[in-house]
Structures are given as C-alpha cells and as structure tokens.
Symmetry: C2
Subunit: 294 residues, 2 copies
DNA sequence: TTCTGCAATAGAGAAACCATATCGCTTTGC
DNA sequence: GCAAAGCGATATGGTTTCTCTATTGCAGAA
C-alpha cells in the first residue's frame, strides 16, 4: 500500500508512466499494475487515461493530499529511527530564494559544525517553487519570505529583515551619494531579478510607492548575473544589503543605502508543519533560532 | 509496511502478541515475524521482549506517534475515497462525557436525518479517556470539556456552556427554594460523579470556592445512578441543567438552580486535528456548529 | 520439579510481486 | 494517407514474500 502510494506520487509528479517508473527504479508495467491495484483497493479511479496519462481525477487530487501526508510521515519515521541509531545524520535539502543564499550558507555552516554527519543540498529557487517543493517532499526546508505565505501549514523561524541597497560601479554618478531615493533610480540602467521572484515584486512595489515605474533593462534569476553586469560599469542593481556586501566585496563596487527601505520584509526558515518535528529538522530550526539571535 | 505498522499499533494496544494478532485476524507467528521485519526495516528495536511482551523501547514510543499518524491517515484516505463513491456513509464513533450524552443524541439525530447512511456508536467515557481514544484511533470524535485540553492538536466546536442545578425529591427541604447556594448543600446527602470525571472536579472546585468541602456519600460514573438514587427520596445530586431536566422529567423530582454557577464550562465537539478533515467528520463539525447556533 | 502460558522458529503452500515480451491505440512526421 | 514512434495496458513466468500449522524454547507459577 505504501509502495503504491509512492508510485502514485511519482506519477503525479512526472505525469508520465515510464518516467515515473524509472524514477522509482521499477519498470513501467509494474507501475501500471501497481496504480491499478491502488485504484481497485480504494474503489476509485485516480488517474485519467486514454492511451496517455491524462491528469488526475478530482478523487485523485484529493487522494494526492493524503498520499503526500502518508508517504512523508513514513519517511520521517524512517529518518527518526535512523537518528536513534546513528545520531544526527542524513541529508537535508534546502530550497532558498537567491537573495538569502548567503544566509543559507551561514545556517548550513553553523549546523554542519555541530552535526558533521549531515549532508546538505542547497538549491536556489523562487518562493513559489519553494513551497511547491515542500509540498512535494522534494525539499526538507526552505529560506523564503515569511509574509503572505500560507502560515499554519508551515513552521517558521525569522532570520532577518531585508534592507535594500543600490550597487553600482565606483565611477557611476550615484556612487558618491550617502543615501538615495527609489525615485532617483529610474534614470539608471537597471538590472533586476526576474518578475517570478518575490524580491522583484517587492522592489517593484517600492518603486511604485515612490511614484515611478521600474524599468529593468536587464533581468536575470541569478544575483551573480546582476552584480557581474554592474561590474561592467554602465549598470546598477538593487540588492539586500547583506548580499550586496558579499557580492561586491573585492570588486571595488559602490554600495549606497536606499532611503525609506529600512525595516523590510522578513526572511526566514520555513519547514512543513509537523507534530512532532523530525530530530534533524528540529536541530535545524534550533540552529536558525540561534542564528537569528546573533 | 502499512500492515506492519497496524501490527505494531495493535501490539502496543493489547500488550500481548496473541491477543494483538487475534484482534487483527491473523495468527501469532505472523504478527511476531511482521514486527521483527518492521524492526529490521527501521533498524531499531521497538518492543522489549524476554519471552514476554515487555513494553515499548524509547524508540518504540517515538515510532508509535508516527505509526498512529500514518495508519490514521491511511484509514482516512480510504474513508474519503469511499465517500466519493457512495456519498456520506460509514460509521462514526463518538466518545462522550456522561453529562453531555443528551447533546450527543441530539447531534447524532440531527446528523442522521441528513445523512441516513452513517451509523453511530456513542460511548460514555470520562474526558481523559476521550482524548486517549482519539489518539489511539479508537474513536472519531468526542464531546467533552473544551477548557484546559490540549488544543491545537484537535479541532473543536463549542456546543454549550454548563449551568449547574440541584436535583432532589419533591418533599426534600430544599425542593421549594427558588435558588440555592453551593454552601447550603453541604448538609445534604450528596450523590456525585466519581472523581475521575471532570464534571466532579468542577463541582468540587465550586464547592471549595464557596468555602465548603464536598462530601459525596454516594459516587457513580453514571448519571442514571445519581438520579435514580435521588428518586428514592433521601438524596440530592448536582447536574447540568439540561441533563437534569431530561433525567428528572416524569419522576416528579425538583430542580433548583444553583446561585453563581451561571456561565459554566464550555462543552463541545472535539476531533483530531487534520488538514483536511474527512468528509464525514467535516459534516459532523458542520452539524455541531449549526446545533450550537440554535 | 512439573505445568502452563507466551513468544520465537521451521517448513510448506499460497499469494503477491516484478520483469520481459508484446499488443493496441494515438500522435507525429513525411 | 501512411509509416513510424511513443505510450500505456496486458500476458506470462520466475522469484520473493506472506501467512498458516506445527513445534520448540523459555520463564514464571503451582
């Protein structure tokens, strides 16, 4: 039954019998009959078929929620038992918004120092993707904005609040300023994150609140691209102060605080809400709480 | 794996391999090897053994929490799929504190009128037992006091607030009173619920708040016993108004409101907190919410 | 000590599982 | 239109897993 639910999850993710089977290390006929048995046991059709995968039925959609819960808990059970054998060990998968990547490193480094047997995978993702990955059991925790997110379904630990700064070449006209307003940036050649990133939407909102429209002549989903463009001289970008200092250091770039951007959006650790948490995850939450207090 | 977890749950409940096996409709060797395989898969010993069942190990204790969650969700999945086949049908098991039994009937009757294919089992239990049964998947919902209970782990719908009344024979010295104080009862021959009942603890507290000690010369865990004793003439008891009227009707017993007992403890429906609720349970919560509004 | 109740183990038959091979249908490309 | 390719269902057989009966081993009680 649990194996069948795993098959169902894989199928709903891959949307393709062959690939789903492959992802589980079984053959397509096995998955095909497995799903059929699951449907028989539940007495409902879960997947629409007509010589192709045709999406989930409404019942399948509902079942998917339960399947995720059940399979997720089963994995957490195994992990917790492994913990009681081997102590804190295993693999933590984090999905992180680009502007929080340095904090992810800080968090992971601190954690690793205490629990050297835990391996990390840190993926850069936008905030919507982060929550999808948590739902799909593809990541264990994330670093993302804590505002306007479906709280109640996740545990959160606030790490810091973003403050925005301008990054530009040292010979740029704005580089000498002690402070600058959002409205003064509209004349510059702006590099900004792509609109699927929440950071970009926040920056957009800040521009509009200052009465001007943000025009990004250059967009990327990578902050490295933004800063390397700025380093070519003609461009400017807006980044959270922390990340700006990290990326600009050693390149002689200027960093100018932006006025009225002081107590920005909260960023922190998010993890699926569970009662109780798995030991590794609990340790991560503790680590984050400690990091936030420094 | 799921089957193994069921075995584990049954064993932890029955504390005996043979009985646990019987309760699952399998033989003792099957359960024995099943549990061994579960332990092998998890790599941990879950049960202490030495030619006898010797209780759970600490790991087993932790695993039990997850097992309950997983098995419970699997059952809920099956039930929800059955719902999408057959509409609202099945079996609801309620555990109810004795003083709320009339409300349980009211709730079940209303629900049954709307959803005639749902069968009910209503058990009278004390409030501690109710929460144990919810945890152990032995009941689907309960009616109990909502104060000082582990909220957050349960969904609740308040139904009413208890007000306390004195029940006595019509020729009893107190029967003619329009109202009475707690302190005036200490001279009477009191029948009260047993101390494991939360209602009794509330009554005790009310007595003590009035400056006197409650002395129950007769205790029972059944309100029927209390009232039938009162009907013999020499005794009095304290019951919530609703139940007092129900049990005393037709017996010529007197019911006297007790002063200062006005907005008493909240009583309502409690159900395991789940996201989302199963359709039958959701319908029950809706029914309770409606009943509360009348 | 013997007896009794409990859980583990052995062994055999049944059931479930999973892979290879293949079919039927749909879509795609020419 | 037709051939080719992609996709999922089905058939079949070998292997594993499951679960039963029968039995053994062990500890506490008489």
């Amino acid at each position: 039954m649990l194996a069948k639910l795993e098959m169902f999850l894989a199928l709903s993710k891959e949307q393709h019998f062959g690939r789903a089977a492959q992802s589980l290390g079984i053959t397509q006929p096995t998955l095909s009959t497995g799903l059929k048995q699951l449907e028989d046991q539940l007495g409902v059709q879960l997947v629409r078929r007509g010589s192709r995968y045709g999406g989930l039925t409404p019942e399948g959609q509902r079942a998917l929620t339960w399947a995720r819960q059940i399979v997720g808990d089963a994995r957490r059970l195994r992990e917790e038992m492994r913990f009681s054998r081997e102590g804190l060990a295993g693999h933590l998968r984090l999905a992180v918004i680009p502007t929080a990547l340095t904090w992810a490193s800080r968090l992971a480094a601190g954690f690793s120092a205490r629990h050297p047997n835990v391996a990390f995978t840190i993926l850069s993702r936008n905030s919507a993707e982060i929550f999808t990955m948590l739902d799909n059991l593809e990541s264990d925790a994330g670093l993302s904005y804590l505002d306007n997110e479906p709280l109640g379904r996740v545990s959160t630990v606030e790490l810091y609040r973003e403050t925005y700064t301008l990054v530009c070449a040292p010979d740029h006209p704005l580089a000498a300023r002690a402070e600058i307003g959002w409205d003064e940036l509209s004349g510059s050649r702006l590099c900004l994150l792509t609109p699927d990133m929440q950071n970009r939407r926040i920056v957009n909102a800040a521009f509009r609140a200052a009465g001007c429209e943000p025009v990004a002549l250059m967009e990327s989903n990578s902050t490295v691209v933004l800063v390397s463009h700025v380093a070519t001289g003609a461009w400017v970008t807006v980044l959270p102060g922390d990340l700006a200092h990290f990326l600009a250091s050693g390149k002689g770039l200027a960093i100018v605080p932006i006025r009225g951007a002081a107590p920005g959006h909260a960023v922190g650790l998010v993890a699926p809400w569970q009662e109780p948490h798995t030991p590794v995850l609990q340790a991560l939450l503790d680590e984050a709480a400690e990091l936030a207090n420094d």
